[in-house]
């Protein structure tokens, strides 16, 4: 049994409900701890004020809905065409209430169109609204801003450079469309080259690539799991994994986020009790986790997972969408980060969208598994195969990653991550997650603070992504910074200065574990 025996971490870090302390007598220093994560609890006053804000928004939502219903105000949103004919109403769920009355009021902070390549700095189109965000007009001007929202972890989103040149040459040799599925006449020479290159990069036997990352998860889990299997998935898994689990027809249970004790309990219960009513044994048990969870910034507990899976003979499926390329000494993902053997993880999945600057997804593992997927997967048999410039971009970036240029990018990303996170934590903001993950979620809690933060940061020339209710829990609205290897120290300093100013202006320094300090006080200490 995996027990938490001793905790040798520094006294200042308290135990969270999610903070699992494992047998770590080998670790003497918190710096060496690859799994040190912090999830500070919500302060009471922030929770109360957030609930009050939502209550007031709800009241005004009812008032406006009443005014729209009684035709005192014109209806601006979606109108039910058959309302007067006695049909069952189309729009009654809470989500459309939320969309009409809370989301639309501040819609200008979401879904901004961009006007250039999403590198470390980019151009946003300026759009203004005269009627409180129901309609927009574009002024034609663009705003130049530092990009802290794109998943550009290794900085490959660039329009000049070796990758871009080779992609353009690939169009000249192969054209753009393959006009067929992979299983018919769509498997091109570059696809085979990509799959072999990716297999050697990851250190696995074989690999298969698809055109869409979401579809890789949603259409390939039904290939490996079917009725009679059990899937144990983390509660914060991405919707593509959940869709794949539902499509497969297998039974699924969720375990608490990164909680290995809970997972072990469920594994033991599943093996002992079997199916719910008939008590027949499960055909196979698959554990589905993600490498880096993008909303929390936490990293899955791979050493403990492999220990559990070997003990209980389950299979492990790891979705490395955000961690491939970004984590690990050589950029090979979470397996590289923990220095473990790739043969222990049965199915490795990843996407090319985030670190490689391209599009698509892959699955890697043993050759027998990949051959089975190649024959039986819907994504292979019915989806058009990947296009030449996209594959060439991935091949070029993989070649770059194996060389010295790639090492420079990986070290720059790790450096940026540590620097940015340390400064934010020192200033007194609540930051979730592992200190090595390039996704930095900072909690803001109240919806009005979220919108003010976003607008004020844009006014200072920094574009951030703020997320609120449906994507996160109701209380925990946050801003998510995605760092990149292409960000220079000056850009990060400009961003930190802006965060410091805006943070003081709207008072979002909630942390009770770290002192609240201004940036100039931290810089003058060092």
């Amino acid at each position: 049994m995996i027990d938490s025996i001793t905790s040798t971490v520094h006294e200042k870090i308290k135990m969270d409900k999610n903070n699992y302390k494992y047998d770590c007598e080998l670790l003497t220093n918190n710096e060496d701890d690859l799994q040190s994560e912090e999830f500070e609890e919500t302060p009471l006053y922030a929770a109360v004020l957030t609930y009050i804000s939502y209550a007031i928004l709800c009241l005004f939502g009812w008032l406006r809905d009443f005014l729209r219903q009684s035709n005192i105000e014109t209806k601006r949103g979606a109108i039910d065409p058959n309302a007067s004919l006695g049909f069952v109403p189309l729009y009654q769920s809470y989500e459309s209430f939320y969309t009409r009355n809370m989301y639309t009021r501040v819609r200008d902070i979401f879904n901004r169109p961009i006007a250039s390549v999403p590198g470390p700095q980019f151009e946003l189109t300026e759009r203004l609204s005269d009627d409180y965000n129901w309609t927009y007009r574009f002024t034609g001007k663009t705003i130049r801003a530092i990009n802290l929202g794109s998943y550009n972890y290794l900085g490959f989103a660039e329009k000049t450079g070796p990758c871009a040149t080779e992609s353009m040459n690939a169009i000249k040799s192969f054209g753009i469309a393959t006009c067929s599925t992979s299983s018919e006449t769509g498997t091109q020479r570059y696809q085979i080259e990509l799959e072999q290159l990716l297999a050697t990069f990851l250190g696995v036997e074989s690999c298969i690539a698809f055109g869409m990352g979401f579809a890789t998860n949603a259409l390939n889990i039904p290939v490996i799991a079917s009725k009679g299997d059990l899937i144990l998935s983390d509660e914060l898994n991405h919707i593509s994994l959940i869709l794949g689990m539902r499509l497969s027809g297998a039974s699924s249970q969720t375990f608490a986020h990164n909680d290995m004790n809970d997972l072990e309990k469920k594994l033991r219960a599943a093996i002992v009790q079997g199916h719910p009513r008939t008590n027949r044994p499960w055909k196979k048990i698959i554990i589905v986790v993600e490498g880096v969870y993008s909303m929390e910034g936490s990293i899955c507990r791979l050493p403990q997972l492999i220990e559990l899976k070997k003990k209980y003979k389950a299979y492990l499926y790891m979705d490395e969408a955000h961690s491939i390329g970004a984590m690990g000494k050589h950029g090979r993902g979470i397996v590289d980060y923990f220095n473990m053997d790739t043969k222990d993880v049965d199915i490795l999945m990843g996407t090319f969208t985030k670190s490689f600057g391209s599009a698509g997804g892959y699955i890697a593992g043993k050759k027998s598994l990949i051959d089975h997927i190649r024959i039986n997967s819907h994504a292979n048999n019915y989806a058009t195969s990947m296009s030449a410039p996209i594959v060439q971009q991935i091949i070029s970036s993989l070649h770059l990653l194996s060389g010295p240029e790639g090492k420079k990018r990986i070290y720059q990303l790790a450096d940026n991550t540590r620097y940015f996170r340390q400064k934010l934590v020192d200033m007194g903001f609540i930051i979730y997650g592992n200190k090595n993950s390039p996704v930095v979620p900072m909690l803001l809690y109240m919806p009005a603070r979220v919108t003010r933060f976003n607008r004020e940061m844009l006014r200072r020339g920094i574009a951030v992504v703020t997320v609120g209710f449906p994507a996160t829990k109701l209380l925990e609205a946050r801003v998510r910074f995605c760092l990149s290897a292409a960000h220079t120290r000056q850009m990060l300093d400009a961003a930190l200065k802006a965060i410091d100013e805006v943070g003081t202006d709207i008072s979002i320094r909630y942390s009770t574990r770290h002192e609240h300090r201004r940036l100039r006080d931290i810089s003058s200490e060092k």
Partner: protein, 77 residues
């Protein structure tokens, strides 16, 4: 004994800081109650209701509390 007087110029910056502080307090009120996201007439409506309720409560306290406290003391003694 050292007396310090503010010169004319310092008084201007103090007044400006004071107004900035009032503006900051107003912003905190808007942010904490989510009025920041609402339209101006909704802000007016909510603020009017809030000030009305608060002022009624304070006025009632001023008028009736002394009498209530006195009769409570008489009941106890």
């Amino acid at each position: 004994i050292l007396d310090t007087y503010t010169t004319g110029l310092e008084m201007f910056s103090n007044i400006r800081r004071f107004f900035k502080f009032i503006h900051w307090l107003y912003l905190q009120y808007l942010l904490n109650t989510a009025l920041y996201m609402l339209e101006p007439w909704e802000r007016l409506l909510f603020s009017t209701l809030l000030i009305g309720i608060l002022s009624t409560a304070i006025y009632s306290a001023f008028v009736f509390l002394p009498h209530h406290v006195r009769s409570l003391m008489q009941l106890i003694s």
